[in-house]
Symmetry: C2
Subunit: 351 residues, 2 copies
């Protein structure tokens, strides 16, 4: 039985190798989708999903380049829908693991509706947390914060911790995990409003890096005892400044370098003081959350515990409708978002 | 009883903050030393040593600067003898642990004779290896190679290993350890003569970086399967080139950055592609051999085993006399030395 819906998908029409992504790269394509076709073409595991929430994350910037220069993620294909992590509601299913009405999450097409192989989806439990939390406090950003801080960062009580882009979707969780684990933590962010937010989140201190004319002096002020863990989200000048303040055996989990994503690598900031890693017997280690899927159970249990105990807060920056994607995306690079950017596609209305 | 000897010490008369160290920084001072005074001034643990061998190593460059910018080693004091690792023969002792005639090693004054607290010395066993081996194949460079490669580098069979400054005192051991441990290893060095030496040492391949106009192309050629371990002795452009060739979960033990030592940190080469650490989930870790003194027993047993089995070779670049120090030292930075630089102070003549 035919069940046509009007669909809107976000399509990459041209690669954005340098500079901001604009509407000359990303366009909305209007289509018709036959939900009744699910499973009829031999793809018996497919599931049709009406999307509720889209996660907007910095790493997507790399998938919009023709050839990658740093994160080694496969580029999106031209003239196809870009992908991200979404949460949606099953509206048709040819997969015995999913029923109409199930709330699911996965990495698939950014669109109002999508037909997705069941293997790319997982059912989520919305009894404790709200659906969009699976894009944030219980999703990829949280796994990134948890794995980067506790495993790569080898966090221990008493550590002096610095987090950049601390009001971002990952940074705000790193800071709160640091407090839970008995560290002292200071965050940097790009506005006074964000600095205020960080203090509300329980950071011991926070500063607006845009107001600091001398990052080195700022770090001397905020870290008189030096830095044991630097959770790096930004790279560039801040990383270089931090390298002059690390303690013996410091750890630098490198999560991302958002200050550098809009440039081709040869135009990026060159870090001149890496020799400090030797003198301080320190390590810098890059990581991606995908490496830690085998520890999802442990992560989920720990984070759910903190959430239930009210030990951890999260802030979303919600925009509504597929048309808001480009604005939400670019705000991350200019720092205009306050909280984890997500897009609500409703109905139903967000809780 | 007075027992005066004529002594010559190497004195730092001015700090060398940038550029090559010259005879305006280092001078020889002629003095008289009374060996009979040992233990007479209340320093009952002192030992008088006639020095036989001086180790010449790149890290000393940092101790000749007024303020350090990377290795965080305490600067030498002006108008005092510089220090290094030496091997000498006890000629007078006020310490029950040492007898006249003992061969000892330690970090102390670079001079023909020195009076040293016994606690700074250890007796060495010259029945299996020659005295100068305690400055090289069984000394600090070997501990550096062993700890950096096996512990920091987490070496395992099948790893693709790249070593820069591979004909240096540490590099040549890293390459041979890599072969013993079942890795494929390629070294870079600064002359065709050194490249030949590396092949004699059993490196799978080696190249003269000065003949390569494009380091990136060279690495593509020598590492078609990418690099799992980069043992970094040089930093700078080579490090940046390597970062474009690392495999997933690569390890970069950073031993030193000799290409950068003669510059103040803000003048050093800025590495622009550190984001690759994220995409490849790779780590860069600085280390110093001093961290691994607690594993000396294990190191000593393993290395002595290889030496007895003839599995490992070593090459020294011997110069004679205290006057040759400056030349031996500067040759490391221009790459003119072939093998580990040591200075023989004899008599007796070198074996």
């Amino acid at each position: 039985m035919e069940q046509r819906v009007h669909n809107r998908e976000l399509i990459l029409v041209a690669y954005a190798n340098e500079g901001p992504v604009t509407d000359s790269h990303l366009k909305i394509r209007e289509t018709q989708l036959d939900l009744g076709s699910v499973g009829k073409d031999g793809s018996s595991g497919d599931v049709a999903v009406q999307n509720l929430w889209i996660s907007v994350d910095p790493y997507l910037r790399h998938l919009m380049k023709e050839s990658d220069d740093g994160l080694y993620l496969p580029s999106f294909r031209l003239n196809q829908a870009i992908r991200s992590i979404l949460v949606g509601k099953v509206v048709a299913s040819a997969n015995p693991a999913f029923e109409v009405g199930d709330i699911v999450s996965g990495f698939y097409q950014v669109a109002e509706y999508a037909i997705v192989p069941g293997g790319d989806l997982r059912k989520i439990d919305t009894s404790v947390v709200k659906p969009s939390d699976y894009l944030g406090i219980l999703g990829m950003p949280a796994l990134t914060a948890w794995a980067g801080f506790t495993i790569v960062g080898e966090a221990k009580p008493g550590d002096e911790v610095f987090v950049s882009a601390a009001a971002g979707s990952v940074g705000m969780l790193v800071g709160q995990l640091a407090k839970i684990k008995g560290c002292r933590v200071v965050g940097s962010a790009g506005s006074d409003q964000k600095v205020k937010l960080l203090k509300e989140f329980g950071f011991d201190d926070a500063f607006n890096y845009k107001s600091e004319t001398d990052l080195d002096a700022a770090l001397s002020r905020y870290f008189p005892r030096g830095i044991d863990i630097y959770f790096d989200n930004v790279g560039g000048r801040m990383l270089e400044a931090v390298l002059n303040h690390i303690n013996m055996k410091a750890r630098i989990p490198v999560c991302g370098m958002i200050s550098q994503y809009n440039q081709e690598w040869k135009q990026r900031f060159g870090v001149r003081n890496l020799l400090n890693l030797v003198g301080k017997c320190a390590k810098m280690e890059g990581f991606m959350s995908g490496q830690y899927h085998h520890r999802m159970g442990e992560f989920f249990e720990e984070m759910t515990g903190y959430i239930k105990q009210g030990k951890i807060k999260y802030k979303e920056d919600v925009k509504v409708g597929l048309d808001s994607f480009l604005e939400a995306f670019n705000y991350m690079f200019t720092g205009e978002n306050i909280g984890k950017p997500v897009i609500y596609l409703g109905p139903p209305p967000p809780k």
